[in-house]
Amino acid sequence: MSHQRRFWIVLLLAWSLGPLLWQLYTSFCSDQALVAPFAATPERWTLAHYRAVLNSEPPFWRYLVNSLIVGTSSTLLTLVIALPAAYALTRLKPWIARPARLLLLAAALFPYVLLFLALLEVARSLHLGNHLLALSLPYAALSQPLAILLLTAAFRDLPLDLEDAARLEGMGLWQRLRWVLIPLIAPATTSTAILVFLFSWNEYPIALTWISDASLLTLPVAMARIAGSSIYSVPYGAYAAATVLGSIPLVLLVLLFQKSIVSGLTSGAVKG
């Protein structure tokens, strides 16, 4: 039983981590080693790809910073709107709240790629192109449905007595949210924030069409440029190095908030 279980776990890990490890391996391989993996190459390991990526113009860290700016601003904007909205959804009368939740669900399931041409028109007419912070507008908007649904589940799990007690302590609506309700759903807020951040970190079509200035590109677009920088060769090594560098912040983020992500994602499942 336990042997069998271990086998499946190893298989699952290999399945999910394999590509990542392969990418990591590729990023440290010299070009010769990459094309002839089994030949005895004298210089097998190299940092050349990392050097190339970091010394390019603009340097790679620039894209990291861009993505961080966009990720942080869209996460904050999302939460600022989604927290009150989610609270309202749990306190509204059911005949408003239920259809609203259904609409949100429908919006969450809508493939956003279908919107990007329309969004491009919006950006053009409002002159939002080539502004990093402007990117957080569509990102926050597209993240709303999922964020609101997740946070609603968390608010709904809070005992009603707690808010009544806060009210009797003399707290107005914003004070209740600030001191009691939002702190109590911190785990759900964290996991929601990370999902939103991930979305904005990975988003490609909108970032591609809204930003053209090379120094303002976000990571996915920049990496696509590295991959397609030459029509004669594919720079596997450099691309892998960029991928590794681009995923480090995310790995750190998840490690840091591991506990609250898990508890946040399971909130709404069982009463805590």
Partner: protein
């Protein structure tokens, strides 16, 4: 300074869950609201606290009409059945939060919180989270929070129903003393008639959203206005005899006595209560419960009667008392 409810009503959809409620509680008085679940007693508390709006009538608190005042501005000290302590804050922060919100200076806040913790004998628990406290300690913190509110009235919603029987008995005099020290009205909701009798100066019995009777514990016990009050107040429960049409006769188990010309009975079961014993009897007029002194012996021929003035007569249909 007191509480006055005039013609209070509350609807849930088309249905009145509380109607025509008239109630006053004066300063330093503890009034218990009792009744079966769903009788409207918790609703009454929520209306007074302003947590739900009244659909009818007026609420006066400390001589001022607060019917339209939001809960935030009402100065209510409430203890919830669930205690409703803020789980993310330490005991001290739980107590401090309300004071902070009301803009009291930090030194003053520290002093008040430490005073009340001292009074509750929970000083060493100040840094703990509510989850780390026992039920009795949580209850005392919830009470401390209500005391710090410096309220115009105390509302207690089944404050002890989550505690075990022993603890409840220990806390009862303490609770009474702590809240009545302030000379404020206290409204105490419970479904336990025994607790109500022990805690309250007066008891109000609610039944299906209506006030059935209000009076001192002994008035309710001796002089119930209806069958409902008679069966709700007093344990072991009153004996009901359905021998006449349209009339139900009630006799308290304590009022039964051994009597040579009484009803011939058969003992079916005996319960030992310590200071007394409870006999379950079978009589020609139905089953009876009888309370006797601990040293009583079962006689060979068991005949049971009662004084005519100990018999309460009720209308079988309406349940009203016949005078």
């Amino acid at each position: 300074m007191s509480l006055r409810l005039s013609n209070i009503g509350r609807r849930a959809g088309q249905q009145w869950i509380l109607r025509h409620l008239e109630l006053t509680v004066s300063d330093g008085e503890c009034l218990a609201l009792v009744g079966p679940s769903g009788c409207g007693k918790s609703t009454t508390l929520r209306l007074i606290a302003g947590l739900d709006p009244a659909d009818e009538g007026t609420i006066e608190l400390g001589g001022r009409d607060v019917t339209r005042l939001p809960a935030v501005q009402r100065r209510i000290g409430m203890v919830f059945q669930s205690y409703a302590l803020f789980p993310h804050l330490s005991v001290a922060d739980n107590l401090d939060l309300g004071l902070k919100i009301r803009g009291i200076a930090i030194q003053e806040r520290r002093r008040r919180v430490s005073d009340v913790l001292e009074r509750m004998r929970l000083k060493e628990r100040a840094a703990h989270k509510p989850a780390q406290l026992s039920g009795g300690q949580r209850q005392r913190i919830a009470l401390a929070r209500a005391l710090l509110r410096d309220p115009l009235i105390y509302l207690m919603d089944e404050p002890m129903s989550n505690l075990d029987a022993q603890l409840r008995e220990d806390l009862r005099p303490e609770l009474r003393q702590l809240v009545l020290r302030d000379q404020k009205p206290v409204l105490y909701v419970t479904h336990d008639q025994h607790e109500a009798m022990a805690m309250a100066d007066r008891i109000a019995v609610l039944h299906q959203g209506q006030l059935e009777q209000i009076g001192t514990p002994s008035e309710l016990y001796r002089d119930p206005v209806s069958l409902f009050v008679a069966t709700f107040i007093g344990r072991p429960q009153i004996n009901l005899l359905h021998t006449e049409s349209n009339i139900v006769r009630g006799v308290r188990p304590e009022a039964l006595q051994l009597q040579d010309d009484g009803l011939p009975c058969r003992l079916t079961h005996l319960e030992w209560l310590g200071a007394s014993q409870l006999w379950y009897l079978d009589s020609p007029q139905g089953a009876l419960r009888m309370v006797l002194a601990a040293d009583s012996h079962v006689p060979e021929t068991l005949r049971v009667g009662w004084r005519p003035e100990d018999e309460l007569r009720f209308d079988a249909v309406s349940g009203r008392r016949h005078r």
